[in-house]
């Protein structure tokens, strides 16, 4: 019998590696774009950042599907509440990781022209200021997402604590998937 939590974890792990790979490819492509053009055909693409955006969108969809595959049925079981909470926690964590990647992408997109300028010319004060702004925003993106993750997990924890203090009617909390014989 498969363990939904382990399967979901493994699924998220794969998605994370895919995202990391996409990010590295995009970073390489951005760096290369700052260099003189090389002879030979270039692969058809809407641009490295657009590709990365699509990768994040796909990852978000895959994470939702993975959650539904592994946890959707678990809520009806004996340990339904725990599994449901665990599933929600993993969804929050996965959503946070994806949002973080998306946030970095947004920052990169906003500063792309300044970064390319910095790569191709000696630095001046305007470029240096822009680069410092880029670094600050990268840090702020991580810090904000960490606070958001913590906040969302706290809310989930409080919800669980409230539910355990005031348990609902067991009949309505975990409805039986069959009708009792009359």
């Amino acid at each position: 019998m498969s363990d939904p939590a382990t399967n979901f974890l493994s699924g998220i792990g794969e998605l994370y590696l895919q995202g990391l790979q996409a990010w590295q490819q995009a970073a390489r492509a951005v760096t290369e774009a700052g260099r003189p053009a090389q002879p030979g055909p270039r692969p058809a693409s809407a641009g490295p950042l657009a590709d990365l955006g699509q990768a994040f969108a796909a990852m978000s969809g895959n994470a939702q599907a993975s959650y539904e595959d592994h946890f959707a049925d678990a809520t009806g079981g004996g340990a339904g509440e725990t599994m449901s909470a665990l599933g929600q926690a993993w969804m929050i964590a996965a959503g946070s990781a994806l949002r973080y990647g998306q946030g970095l992408l947004d920052v990169q997109t906003r500063y792309q022209s300044a970064l390319l300028r910095a790569a191709g010319a000696p630095s001046d004060r305007v470029t240096t200021d822009a680069f410092r702004g880029f670094l600050r925003e990268v840090g702020e993106t991580a810090e904000r997402e960490a606070r958001r993750l913590q906040f969302e997990l706290e809310q989930l924890g409080e919800k669980i604590a409230r539910a355990s203090e005031h348990p609902a009617d067991p009949e309505t909390l975990n409805p039986r998937p069959y009708r009792a014989k009359e």
């Binding site: 305007v126 200021d129 410092r132 600050r136």
Partner: protein, 314 residues
Amino acid sequence: MNNLGVTPGFGEDVIASLGFSAEMALLRQRIAQWIAACDPEMREALEWQFVSGSKYFRPLTIFACYRSIIQGQIPEQLITSALVIEMFHNMTLVVDDILDKSPTRRGRATMHTKFGELNALMTSGYIVADGYAQLGGDLPAIALFSELMKRLGVAEVMQWRLRRQLLGVEDWRRIAGEDTGSMFEICACLGDRSFRLRRFGGLLGLLYHGCDDVGDVRGAVALGGGGAEDLRDGILTLPAALAIRDPEIGALFCRPDPSAEDLGRIAAAFAAKLPEAEAALDAIAEEARREAKLFAVDPGPLLALVDRTRRLSG
């Protein structure tokens, strides 16, 4: 030095629209009671300082942060926090006015002009000491006010050390974030003791500081009138950080004794950078709105604060 004394646009209408009229009336009453209980030697100077038309934007920020997280009446402890933040704020105004040699504020003589520098300095110390006494056993608030005092001190020293230098917008963010930013950060933490709105407060303060800088260039005298002093002293304001990217203006800005003609050229260069400065302020306002939406239960009061603050640049 930045003189953020009066906040036009923050009148009774804003207080009423956010539903804090009763709390503000209580705060005014607490200020009057506190002054009445002070040493008679200090009382006249304190009355002069505290009746000079503050719009209570810092207390308003404390109350709005509380209400954005918790519904219901503002607790007594927060009224005390509001009283003490107003006391600390006035202390900074007294010190600013002495350093800037400002003869007037809010249309009347500054404390040192009317009572002399010694009296003004001693009164500012008295205000801080009694502020801590007012907090009683509220230990988290004591820690927050201590943090504020230290950060304001560091910010002022840093701002003075970095005057007349070729710095950028990122340097301005750092200085303003520690100066006005720290004041509003502490307001947010006093209002919401989970500190979830700390970053929001910092951004609101940064926005306020930037709007003041831009308002000064626009000649909005009512904003505190600190523009001429900042220009004379080579203080890094937001328009300055943008204008001195031009090497010619940068060289004029760094002169230790600029002539009237130099100051005129610098002022014109600052004015030319206003659209860029306004765009930077729009981005900061948007950051603040995002924080409010992410971390407040009811972001409404916080969004109203951001919108009102944003309008201060004129």
